[in-house]
């Protein structure tokens, strides 16, 4: 089973839009879950939404989490400190490129380490 990907954004639309893009590129075998906005749909992040997304994305091979900015990262870090189970990892990666690279790597049946590395390597990728 593929490593799952969780996308944490302040914006529900940003998280779900990126999830749709990534799913189109990576195909149906990679669990991709969006956790955007607060529990009442405003801009912000929600511990509960992130936690639910991690649970849905976890099919046994681990979960890589990408966040958009500042407090989204803090929310995830806070959550993992209290609920970390050893195979859920927050990566330091650009949101869009990191998610695409991670998901395509996951779709090849790569390990959690490999998927996390692909996301973090995306920082050096040039667009031009």
């Amino acid at each position: 089973m593929a490593v799952g990907i969780v996308l944490v954004s302040h914006s529900p639309e940003l998280a779900s839009g990126l999830a749709a893009l990534v799913a189109q590129v990576a195909g149906p075998d990679v669990p991709i879950e969006a956790a955007g906005g607060t529990s009442d749909g405003r801009l912000g992040t929600s511990d509960a939404r992130v936690e639910e997304a991690i649970t849905r994305a976890d099919r046994g091979a681990g979960v890589v989490i990408l966040g958009d900015l500042g407090s989204a990262i803090l929310t995830v870090r806070h959550l993992l400190e209290t609920n970390g189970n050893g195979h859920t990892r927050l990566v330091d990666a650009p949101f869009v490129e990191g998610a695409v690279a991670a998901a395509v790597t996951a779709s090849c049946g790569a390990t959690l380490d490999e998927v996390a590395q692909a996301a973090e390597d995306a920082r050096g990728a040039r667009k031009l």
């Binding site: 195909g27 695409v100 395509v104 790569a110 995306a122 990728a125």
Partner: protein, 89 residues
């Protein structure tokens, strides 16, 4: 000395090397140990990096040059050229 292999293949009508087709290409490349690059429009990409392949911006009808180095280079080039020929929209 490492085996090396090389071949050209043209993207079919209506198929650009973006999104899903690019991912199919990269997934195929990842099955091999060889170091593989793909050249299009005078730009070179790492065939195992989706971001690198997407940055080629290769459109339908573009000729790709696939170059592999390593013990399974020949098989990798064969698999990749077949995979490109079979891409659909």
């Amino acid at each position: 000395m490492l085996a090396s292999s090389e071949a050209q293949v043209t993207l079919p009508d209506g198929v650009a090397l973006h999104a899903r087709p690019a991912a199919i290409f990269v997934r195929t490349a990842m099955k091999y140990k060889a170091r593989i690059s793909v050249v299009a429009n005078d730009r070179e990409a790492d065939a195992k990096s989706i971001l690198s392949v997407l940055a080629l911006g290769a459109r339908a009808g573009t000729t790709l040059r696939v170059v592999a180095e390593g013990e399974d280079a020949r098989d990798a080039v064969d698999a990749l050229t077949t995979s490109v020929s079979n891409l659909t929209e």
